[in-house]
Amino acid sequence: MYLYDDFDRAFLAERNAQFRAQVARRLDGSLTEDEFKPLRLMNGVYLQLHAYMLRVAIPYGTLSSDQMRVLAELAERWDKGYGHFTTRQNIQYNWPRLADIPDMLDRLGDVNLHAIQTSGNTIRNVTADHFAGAAADEIADPRPYAELLRQWSTDHPEFQFLPRKFKIAVTGSPNDRAVTRAHDIGLVLKERGGELGFEVIIGGGLGRTPMIGKTIRDFLPEADLLPYCEAIVSVYNRLGRRDNKYKARIKITVHENGLDEMQARVEERFAELRPLFDGVDQAQLGRIRSMFAAPEYRDGHAPAVTDPVLRSWIETNTVPHKRDDHAIVTISLKAHGATPGDATADQMRLMADLADAHAYGELRISHEQNVILPHVPRDALPALHMALGAAGLGTANVGLASDIIACPGMDYCALATARSIPVAQGIATRLDALKVEHDVGHLKIKISGCINACGHHHVGHIGILGLDRAGVENYQITLGGDGSETAAIGERTGPGFAYDQIVPAVERLILAYLSLREGEDETFLQAYRRVGMAPFKAALYETAATREAANAA
């Protein structure tokens, strides 16, 4: 992984010292809240419903075991003993005291972590495929490019006050696990004639006006990555609307100006910028790439697994590694009934120790709020599974219906219109009681506590959006969303459901799917695409009473 040099360390130390002084001045009254707020936001400090919240970036989701231990230490020393992994490969601490945050940032700085640009109208944490560097289907590791983008965008003077926040995601695989089509810029690595390059997608985004991104360049040579991205952000910075917060994201800029106009302007700006990049970026990319070398793999061949519990876990929670004697292991942070994405300090430490013992010290955080050990020799899987199980981390549900993405919602978030966590807990608990989820198979349920859509509900096969309807929590359902390379925005089923009705409603959808699918191989999404909304709508809304009324009419 990327190792900080003296310049990086000095930059971070200076920034932390600056923020320490700003906090001190806020506490002694020399800064007003209006003056302080933008400063704290630039450093990832929010004020939520019950407390401050510190959002720490985990660049492209990659963590070393030492970094994970420091995340655990923060949770224990300055928070309530846990942290919340988010859908943008960040970790949030929900309970820090303002006066403690400078110490937290210094401790993070010891292991090259920070909270810079995890808020504000800037380029946010660059996210990547969580299987990067390990996946069997990968063309190349996308993380060196993500790191290059991180360095370019951090404190970039031109892009500190964009019209709105700006999110970039990169994948090195044709199977899109990074939701690139729902980002301001999505980069999909491709190979053409032996050369590496990117399909560049712009204007994707969820929120109030969900849009699937559009391809602005089919193939951008890798050497042009920075000047081209700079051209896009610079055109957006100029054209993006600042008069209306809800129309300020680049998706609206693309929508209002049209893709052709955007393309013409970006190409024009790119032509100006390209000569200014004199190769320093490519030299830096080479340097970065050397730090992302694969671990020195040991032989991991193992005999066939006979234990059914272990076999089930391997089937659900591992995917093929580029080496056949290794596996990529996803540790589920979705035990049935637990808060999606939360890990206690003890669990974080255990995962760090297990990474050291069995996975070359590497971990990843997925946007699906799970933890990944990207390189596990297959002969280590039994010991790993046993250790995880003992710590409540052995749930075999990755990719299944209880592997739910849920944003913090109204249990923490000041912007929320309803809760999302207890809905996720309720659905997972119910699925566990029904014992159907292995039969149901691949199903992504995603829940957001407001229209901002941090829980990606628009791209959930089943999406749930929590709203405030006349002072009561109400949940709208969408179906058929898809965050992968076949991205689609889900369609609303109809009227929403009350808090105590949403879990039974989801249960009815799942049971309807089971009865109408053409075979075990037809997933929920495939079945929905085949039969459409009608049978699901009937399952949701047609009760005995409405049927009777319809018959009588």
């Binding site: 806020r26 009254g29 809240e33 004020l47 300055w78 309530k80 005291r97 303002l98 207890p422």
Partner: protein, 106 residues
């Protein structure tokens, strides 16, 4: 027609702890909604709100929140603010948090 006035409390977040606080009748900040001053008329509500806003060294983001005449939260958002998150038994409704305790000022 202007909406008839409904009872209010003054609430904010504590500057250092960040947690939810309420203004009491004797000008203190408390952490328990039950001890908050329930305000019955608009002119007095404005007065109490400006009093709160004049304390930027103690609280952040003061506003008037609706309560029922007996002082219970009128909206579910305020109920969660008063009781803490519902996913863990460690919010206000469940006593103090482990680890560092809130400081005594305010």
């Amino acid at each position: 027609m202007p909406k008839p006035f409904t009872p209010k409390v003054v609430t904010a977040n504590h500057l250092i702890e960040g947690d939810v606080v309420y203004l009491t009748a004797d000008d203190e900040w408390c952490r328990d909604l039950a001890q908050a001053e329930v305000i019955e008329n608009e002119a007095y509500a404005d007065l109490r709100l400006s009093f709160a806003e004049d304390q930027p060294g103690i609280v952040v983001g003061a506003y008037l929140a609706d309560v029922t005449p007996d002082g219970a939260p009128a909206h579910f958002r305020e109920a969660f603010r008063a009781g803490g998150p519902t996913n863990y038994p460690h919010g206000k409704a469940h006593g103090q948090r482990p680890g560092p305790q809130p400081s005594s000022e305010a």
